[in-house]
């Protein structure tokens, strides 16, 4: 079952009145959408508000989503429109030449042109989260590190990872799970100490 189909199942649950399924979609896409919106709305706090608005608009519009495009494509389009409307409402011009199209939004993750958008209050925490994740990744045994890197950074499927690592898919599944758990173990104490904001 492809990622897109998992999203579609969650969307259908929301369409049947399951608000919690929308929580799962928010958790999954909030940072990707936030990063996209920050291309338009430069102020970090405003960008977070616009991201939140975009999710609410998406929720309201979900009954009309037919699944003809991927959910994230549709969501990113709403995000871009919300950001542009926000700028227009504040009499600011949206960027005239946007170097991307919402159809290709997934590939924006590779762009390195984004400026720092973390709020001053959260900047230290963001840095710590990234540091812990990176350090934990480096401390993993080679096979676990490779499996997680191939999955999260290179975006390979389990089948492709199995081919690259020359091992059964079951082994790939187990390695990725163990790698994530090892990183999560190091991350949990940090997140529990952060007060106010959930991460």
């Amino acid at each position: 079952m492809a990622d897109r189909e998992v999203d579609q199942q969650l969307v259908e649950r929301v369409q049947r009145g399951d608000k919690h399924a929308f929580d799962l979609l928010v958790s999954k896409y909030q940072r990707k959408l936030g990063r996209l919106i920050s291309r338009f709305v430069k102020d970090p706090a405003e960008a977070e508000d616009v991201t939140q608005d975009a999710f609410i608009k998406a929720y309201r519009a979900l009954p009309g989503f037919r699944g003809e495009s991927a959910f994230y494509t549709w969501l990113y389009r709403i995000g871009i429109n919300t950001a542009k409307n926000h700028l227009l409402a504040n009499k600011r011009r949206p960027p005239t030449s946007t170097p991307f199209d919402s159809e290709d939004s997934e590939s924006f993750e590779e762009a390195s042109l984004l400026r720092e958008v973390t709020t001053p209050e959260n900047e230290l925490m963001s840095k710590q989260v990234v540091d812990v994740v990176q350090t934990s990744l480096q401390q993993l045994p080679e096979d676990l590190r490779s499996a997680l890197t191939l999955r999260e950074i290179e975006g390979l499927s389990y089948e492709e990872i199995a081919t690259v690592m020359n091992c059964p898919i079951g082994t790939v599944r187990s390695r990725i799970f163990r790698a994530r758990e090892a990183v999560a173990e190091n991350l949990r104490p940090l997140l529990e100490t952060s007060k106010g904001n959930r991460w």
């Binding site: 009145g17 929580d23 909030q30 990707k32 999955r151 950074i153 389990y158």
Partner: protein
């Protein structure tokens, strides 16, 4: 979360990821780890609580079921039509083949005669004389000779 679920597992899994459960926390944490690896320059705090708070005042959305139902009905109808068409084609083909082959088989049946009636006694001598040139000799050893002998009594 990696798009590696089996279809029948998904519904059960989403039921288990209830709000506030360990499974839900893991879902959030694993996505944070993925985002931290992919876009370390843009990690912000979790917005889902804020979105959830705002959604509390939102009426629950309910999509008309026609989309999914229509799609499923269309899929079932198309599958049924394809199956019927396949059965029809197979039946038609078998009818065509049946009508051509039956007379041939009937003709062949009439043409069959016991082997012993066709073999003349003089051919036994010929076969005996050329037995050593038979390609089956090497393979079967004495078997070909035994066959020749078996025709013997009828020829006499």
């Amino acid at each position: 979360m990696d798009g590696e679920l089996f279809e029948d597992e998904a519904e059960g899994l989403f039921d288990r990821i209830g709000r506030g459960t360990d499974a839900h926390k893991d879902w959030e944490l694993y996505h944070l780890i993925g985002d931290a690896l992919r876009q370390p320059d843009h990690i912000h705090c979790d917005l889902s609580a804020r979105v959830r708070e705002q959604m509390r005042d939102e009426p629950t959305v309910l999509a008309p079921r026609s989309h999914t139902v229509k799609r499923k009905v269309r899929t079932v109808a198309l599958s049924a039509a394809a199956s019927l068409a396949a059965v029809g084609v197979v039946a038609w083909m078998s009818q065509q083949i049946g009508s051509e082959t039956l007379p041939q088989m009937a003709l062949q049946k009439n043409a069959i005669r016991p082997v012993s009636m066709q073999i003349q006694s003089r051919s036994n001598d010929y076969l005996m004389a050329h037995q050593e040139f038979s390609p089956s000799t090497d393979m079967n050893g004495g078997a070909s000779y035994i066959r020749m002998v078996s025709y013997g009594p009828e020829g006499k």
